[in-house]
């Protein structure tokens, strides 16, 4: 199989003309240009200044390096990332599992789907104080906050994707004597994977919201605490550096997720 893959890539590269490759280089350049443009506008806005509480891009960058050097940022991330990763990983596996089950099994659908529809419609941030009330202010509460936000969208997307799977492919698998398990693993999950991954991306993004909300609202630790602390001391550059860093991390996580999707599940989309 491995040798076949490499052959495929070789043919793919050969058939992709130099034109395609230069176009790819161009998109990379455009992306860099977009980031540079954003930084420049930030810099100008900070220099006007838009507000006394709005630092320039360069001040923020300096603050960012400073916070890494003095260890405050790494320490905050250590505390934030634990419940975040735990919550997101649990939500991903639980959500995809539960969503698949509901998509395949009527009773499961009736049992669980209404709950998740309500959860998705509800302003779940309102639950966070309740979570604190029950689970205190530790790691459990933070992990739960992540999961409350991330789980519904993952479950519902997976459920929808499994429900709308291409029926013709299932018939094909049956006619070639596929077992129930083969139909799920070789047809339904790969066919549903684009929508499942769309749900995972939304879920992971919601998980970041959940952990920051939890740290701002209930447990003054980690990144949320660093934001609040720097705001209270009017260290606006440090505050912005913290906020920007968590946005950047969230974005990178989503890009990584997309990369995994095309690499592992839908290799045919690699080219386009």
């Amino acid at each position: 199989m491995a040798s076949v893959r490499t052959e495929g890539e070789a043919i793919g590269l050969a058939s992709l003309s130099g034109e395609t490759r230069s176009w790819q280089e161009q998109t990379v350049l455009l992306r860099i240009a977009s980031v540079v443009l954003f930084a420049a506008i930030w810099q100008i806005a900070g220099m006007i200044p838009v507000s006394f509480a709005f630092p320039t891009f360069s001040d923020t960058a300096v603050a960012f390096v400073g916070m890494i050097a003095d260890g405050s940022l790494p320490k905050a991330y250590l505390s934030t990332l634990q419940p975040l990763i735990l919550g997101v990983v649990l939500s991903a596996f639980l959500g995809v599992g539960l969503g698949t089950l509901c998509g395949l099994w009527r009773t499961g659908e009736w049992l669980f789907i209404p709950v998740f529809i309500v959860l998705q419609a509800a302003p779940v941030a309102a639950f966070i104080p309740m979570v604190t009330f029950i689970y205190g202010i530790g790691m459990t509460a933070k992990t739960l906050a992540v999961m409350i936000l991330a789980l519904p969208v993952i479950v519902l997307n997976t459920y929808k994707a499994v429900r709308n799977v291409n029926f013709s492919l299932i018939a094909m698998c049956q006619s070639f004597l596929g077992t129930r398990w083969q139909i799920v693993s070789k047809i339904i999950l790969p066919d549903a994977s684009p929508v499942i991954f769309a749900g995972l991306r939304l879920g992971v993004a919601a998980g970041f919201v959940g952990v920051v909300l939890a740290e701002l609202l209930i447990t003054p630790t980690g990144i949320g605490d660093l934001i609040t602390f720097n705001r209270s001391r009017a260290n606006y550059a440090e505050m912005y550096a913290t906020i920007a860093s968590i946005i950047a991390l969230s974005t990178l996580t989503l890009i990584a997720l997309q990369w995994i999707e095309t690499r592992v599940f839908r290799p045919e989309k690699r080219g386009g």
Binding site: C173, Q174, S175, F176, L177, K186, E268
Partner: protein, 267 residues
């Protein structure tokens, strides 16, 4: 002068031939639409039989019942003398919409039937490469379906069905989503493949020309409810140049005869 063997009547005579697939008293109703009523039919071994008829005559339903993909309300289907109600290794299906895995290469798609049966990778890929060659797709093993034309995709579907080495190939309007030029080429290839493969083909089509061109035997179905109206055996010599068949007087007469028979059902 050769002439087509024509049998008329709602209940055809039992066949004295070696029948690989026997259909007895098959009926199927969808809601209040009677798709098939009391179908009795034999499919001779090693022949290509077409099920031909206007839309709504239940030809695809009958094919899917033979495939075990749809359950009949009444009646039995037996293959090689054994009654079947589910898909089995002695039958392979070619789908109208190709039903290829978009995330898998041509090689994996063709080998998919064997993959489901748990054959080792090396073995199934060897078989798949052989049939990819047979259907004229050598060099495309590592392409994905979206990189192929409609005709090429259906060749993948055909190679997949050939790979599992079934006795009976069931083809559900395999060329209806293929453009005209590719269809002609594909039909010629199918005639050639039939002579090498020694398999039984059951072919659903709504094209009279196609049925006459490729079939040993044509079963005409009439709609609402789906019943057998005629069985025709076009006696056409297919060893000659395929382009000559299309100009053959006998071919043209048979097409015309079938059209006269079907006309009444077309609104």
């Amino acid at each position: 002068m050769r002439s087509a063997t024509v049998r008329k009547g709602p209940t055809p005579m039992p066949e004295p031939v070696d029948a690989i697939v026997e259909v007895r008293g098959i009926s199927k109703t969808y809601g209040n639409v009677e798709a098939l009523r009391g179908i009795d039919l034999d499919f001779p071994r090693g022949k290509l039989t077409s099920l031909l008829g206007p839309s709504g005559c239940g030809k695809t339903t009958l094919l899917k019942i033979i495939a075990g993909l749809i359950e009949a309300d009444a009646g039995t289907v037996s293959v090689n003398g054994r009654t079947v109600s589910k898909p089995g290794p002695e039958r392979a299906f070619v789908f109208q919409d190709f039903a290829l895995l978009p995330w898998a290469t041509v090689l994996r798609n063709v080998a998919f039937g064997l993959e489901l049966r748990g054959k080792p990778v090396a073995e199934r890929e060897k078989v798949a490469r052989h049939y990819i060659g047979e259907v004229g797709l050598s060099g495309f093993e590592d392409k994905y379906p979206h990189e192929l034309s409609g005709g090429m995709r259906q060749r993948v579907g055909l190679a997949r069905a050939l790979s599992v080495d079934a006795d009976v190939l069931l083809l559900d309007e395999p060329f209806s989503a293929v453009d005209e030029q590719n269809r002609r080429k594909f039909q010629e290839d199918l005639i050639r493949l039939r002579t090498n493969q020694n398999k039984t083909f059951i072919f659903v089509t709504h094209s009279i020309e196609e049925a006459v061109y490729i079939s040993d035997r044509i079963v005409l179905l009439s709609p609402r409810p789906g019943r057998i109206s005629q069985i025709i055996e076009p006696d056409i010599d297919r060893s000659v140049d395929p382009d000559r068949i299309h100009r053959d007087k006998h071919y043209l007469d048979t097409v015309e005869e079938i059209w006269q028979g079907l006309k009444q059902y077309v609104e």
